[in-house]
């Protein structure tokens, strides 16, 4: 009986309904794959994506991505894809002179604080 219920719940229509309307963890636990919204929550953007996203507002998306790549390689010797949360402060330090030149000291610190806040638990 439980197997039939699990099978029905994993049909796309039923699964969507269960995810949207049934908050019960017992029902959700019967699903083989998580709800779409849960999947989104689990898939966090990478550290490099967060840096690029925050810097894009000032430097433009193209240069923001290239800046993360260039300074990750030069300062940390790693590719953006391999950046970890513990590299955040070192990458910030590497990007600081660039931002300081273009935005000034206090404004660049403000921008880097906003980046750091994205990594706080």
């Amino acid at each position: 009986m439980a197997g039939v219920a699990r099978g029905l719940l994993n049909l796309p229509v039923a699964k969507r309904a269960a995810c949207e309307f049934l908050g019960s963890t017992s029902v959700k636990s019967m699903l083989e794959t998580p709800c779409a919204s849960e999947e989104r929550v689990r898939t966090k953007p990478s550290a490099a994506d967060v840096f690029a996203e925050e810097l894009a507002r000032w430097l433009g998306p193209h240069t923001a991505r290239r800046a993360v790549r260039t300074f990750a390689l030069r300062a940390l010797g790693t590719t953006p894809e391999q950046l970890l949360q513990r590299d955040v402060s070192r990458l910030s330090a590497a990007l600081r002179p660039m931002l300081k030149t273009l935005l000034g000291n206090s404004q660049s610190e403000q921008v880097l604080r906003a980046v750091a806040a994205r990594f706080e638990p």
Partner: protein, 278 residues
């Protein structure tokens, strides 16, 4: 905001052309040119000061903006020194004036220093690291070639005049050398603007490059006017490009200040741990 900044340039040019074309006499047109020259230089000084003062002491670009403000301020002082008569805009004859020459030389020297500081930002910020050497060399060589093509003949003539014993030509030579240097430095300014495209900072650099290009076209019109023995059309083009350049620097200053205010108002967003991906 960015469209308002562009509107400053377009509106200034449109108003200048309209007033000059509708002027009842060549004398009145000359007075209009002078009025626009003074007004736009005052506004450009103000715009550059606004940008410079938004940076803190010791910030790299503060120096550049303050030098630009000083350069436009000195040019404004030169304009106001004896009014329109001294610039050949009115019919009065032009006498030798040491104060005017000193102001021109100082304004040009300070202007070159300003553009040097801003052009160096390209390297100082590390943007050069992200662009291929080939692209950088091409843009620098092209800018230098255009610069020499536009200002080279005038520079040659003025140096000849100076070496022939004409002391007044010293101000002209300084101005020509400043033009050659400034136009050659347009390369890094354009590269910076292109690199920052899509970002808040890009508009400052686009407008700075536009200001530099307007000065370049002003020089072209000046040269054409000299060949055509001061035709009214070349005169109008020269004055309109001068207005466009000053308006672009005003817009660049406002764009810089706006960008810095946006950065100062940056608030931390939600932390990554609870943030869904897009």
């Amino acid at each position: 905001m960015r469209y308002r900044l562009l509107a400053i340039v377009v509106l200034s040019v449109a108003l200048h052309v309209a007033f000059a074309v509708l002027a009842p006499s060549p004398g009145a047109a000359a007075e209009i040119h002078f009025a626009f020259r003074v007004a736009m230089r005052a506004l450009a000084t103000w715009g550059c000061l606004l940008a410079g003062l938004r940076f803190a002491r010791g910030d790299y670009l503060r120096r550049g903006w303050m030098l630009f403000a000083l350069s436009f301020g000195l040019l404004l002082a030169k304009d106001l020194w004896r009014g329109p008569s001294l610039h050949g805009l009115a019919s009065t004859s032009v006498d030798h004036d040491a104060v005017r020459d000193a102001l021109v030389i100082a304004a040009n020297a300070v202007g070159v220093a300003a553009i040097w500081v801003l052009a160096r930002a390209w390297f100082r910020a590390g943007l050069a690291l992200m662009t291929s050497v080939k692209r950088q060399v091409t843009s620098f060589v092209m800018a230098a070639a255009v610069s020499l093509a536009v200002t080279g003949p005038t520079l040659f003539t003025d140096v000849h005049l100076f070496l022939g014993g004409n002391v007044d030509a010293l101000a002209l030579v300084t101005s020509d050398v400043a033009d050659v240097t400034s136009f050659a430095l347009l390369g890094p300014l354009l590269l910076t603007a292109i690199a920052l495209r899509g970002g808040v900072l890009a508009w400052t650099w686009y407008l700075l490059a536009l200001g530099g290009l307007s000065f370049l076209f002003m020089d072209v019109a000046q040269s054409l006017g000299a060949f055509g023995h001061g035709s009214p059309r070349a005169r109008l083009a020269e004055e309109v490009f001068r207005t466009a350049a000053a308006a672009a620097y005003l817009g660049a200053g406002l764009a810089q200040r706006w960008a810095l205010e946006s950065a100062r108002g940056t608030r931390p967003r939600r932390a990554l741990a609870s943030e869904p991906a897009n």
